[in-house]
Symmetry: C2
Subunit: 331 residues, 2 copies
DNA sequence: TTGAAAGCGCTAACAT
DNA sequence: ATGTTAGCGCTTTCAA
């Protein structure tokens, strides 16, 4: 890899001049520029982003971090795509870190991100008091949170109306005649789980029914826990006639259990999930689900971050997007 | 962020000494070490990976790149997890680049990776002559290819036995009595598609049947193309009685079309897909599929890369893992 | 319009 | 055992 120096020597100018033509410096003679451009082409010169980043804290390093709890969840894949598209358009590269719901891993990745001098971070914190993310925030790093906020912290956030999304789904279940509706929650400590539970409870109570805490199961937002908690539910003496599942992976797990028991959906047990998937229509039966605009969450978050990087004092924005209940055959 | 200098001043030693204690330098007095460690803790010092990388080309920058064609494909998500786990254990950070089957994007990402002075790259090239990846290879960057190789290039590769995987699936279809078996291929130019087609053809011929080229459709390895090509197939005057789909996303797309036409699987049309998914069992009907050890592909690739980084002259290895036909209800 | 030179934070000789 | 110093490749004054 050739350096600025090599180019300068070949073009017979100083490195300062080369730097100017590269960075669209205004004051440079046309002839000189041509010479430099030629040398650059001949040497296939590629600027070192590393040196650039080291040198100018002020100038943008064009690098942002993306911190995600679980890349196996298609929801985050879509968020990632949204982030990526905007980053690409704005010439940012992204370092993606999947901490797999492991706070130790999260800390390590966040350290690395800081050590890499990223310009900003898009993060779905482990929970609403996540000390690792809060630390970076306090250090002054531009951050925008997705899917979940940080309680008591003034930070840009892009979320979905979780409470309403859950409410609409459960309300629909009730209006359709289901009486014992269970909720399989993701990790209890993450805000989205709480809001979804809130919507679930409100819908039940607003319909003059009673919440039965036996029907609420808490898991870890993963496939395995969908399988197991659904099994617990179906093994009850008085099992639910409908299940509202807290996310993608839980839904898939629950479906697996229901099929294993050879129960008919929705006749014997109905199911509505939070999170829609591209292939929900090909599930057995086609799944009814609360769709989150995941791609858009990522897109908006990245736009917000880029704004914040260029204007660190702009006051934080909380953006709430809406969900939509997609009815198919599972309820 | 405090620097080596800050720590040195606070501890009352030189930066060299600080550097020594950080890098487990052998020659350092216990008392001094303690002082330095104390200063580090007090200042919450974090070394700059950027400066480190700039300084020592020789020393490891602990950064590897991962180039992936389509993160929406769960197969690559699993590969990613395998890579990540090994990288994590070995203290490497990874920059993940999803080029979304867009060669322009691929080039941009590869440029960035080079500009970031990565130690090595794990790549699933766009096709077997991918000039962007070949360029880096020629520049001497340690590379290991996954899922597809680079024809004529001596490079580490981790692949699956695509031809045999396809053969076993199609052979099973034939032995089960299906007569007109279609193949919906992913992008024609990628090696895995070719090998799968080869297995498909061989199985048909070895069973004394004739390959009907009308039944082979080429797409772009995405969901959409599964939907459309399956539609073309089913709209034929003499439609297939079974379909072998070239990957994950195509399978899901084909399933969507079959359901839209309300055809019964496998009675009216059977289907076997390449790539199994965690939730294949919850599809309608539970999907039969050729399982690839995706996580292991990623794991092995990363191990190979780390070896190669430390020993760049070791001669290239081609690793071929086996697939397994998982029979459920779709054929 | 161009060049010289300082310095970003670090490692690795080389000196002491 | 510890310190001094020369860069890595770049941006950015300041001078010419």
């Amino acid at each position: 890899m050739s350096s600025l120096n090599d180019v300068a020597r070949r073009a017979g100018v100083s490195i300062a001049t080369v730097s100017r033509v590269i960075n669209k410096g205004s004051n440079v003679n046309e002839e000189t520029r041509a010479k430099v451009l030629k040398a650059i082409k001949e040497l296939k010169y590629q600027p070192s982003r590393v040196a650039k980043r080291l040198r100018s804290k002020s100038a943008s390093s064009n690098l942002i971090g993306l911190l995600i709890p679980d890349i196996q969840n298609p929801f985050y894949v879509d968020v990632l795509r949204g982030v990526e598209d905007v980053a690409y358009e704005n010439n940012y590269a992204i370092i993606m870190c999947n901490f797999a719901q492991d706070e130790k891993k999260e800390k390590m990745y966040l350290d690395i991100l800081q050590q890499e001098s990223i310009d900003g971070l898009i993060a779905a914190p482990a929970h609403e008091k996540d000390p690792n993310v809060i630390k970076l925030l306090n250090d002054g790093l531009p951050i925008v949170c997705v899917d979940r906020g940080l309680t008591g912290k003034d930070v840009d956030v892009v979320v979905v109306n979780n409470r309403d999304g859950a409410y609409v789904a459960v309300d629909h279940l009730i209006k359709s005649g289901y009486k014992r509706i269970a909720y399989i929650s993701g990790q209890k400590q993450i805000p989205s789980s709480k809001y979804r539970e809130m919507g679930y409870r409100d819908a039940i109570e607003d319909n003059g029914m009673q919440v039965d805490v036996e029907l609420i199961k808490y898991g870890d937002s993963k496939h395995r826990s969908g399988v197991e908690l659904c099994e617990e539910l179906l093994a009850m003496a008085n099992p639910p006639d409908a299940i509202f599942t807290g996310n993608n992976l839980i839904t898939l797990g629950a479906l697996e259990t229901i099929h294993k028991r050879e129960l008919r959906i929705p006749e014997e047990v109905a199911i509505v999930g939070f999170d829609d998937m591209m292939w929900s229509i090909s599930l057995n039966p086609p799944l009814s689900a609360v769709r989150q605009p995941a791609y858009e969450i990522g897109k908006r978050a990245c736009e917000l971050l880029i704004q914040r990087i260029s204007d660190p004092k702009r006051s934080p924005i909380q953006m709430t997007l809406n969900t939509k209940l997609i009815l198919r055959k599972s309820c």
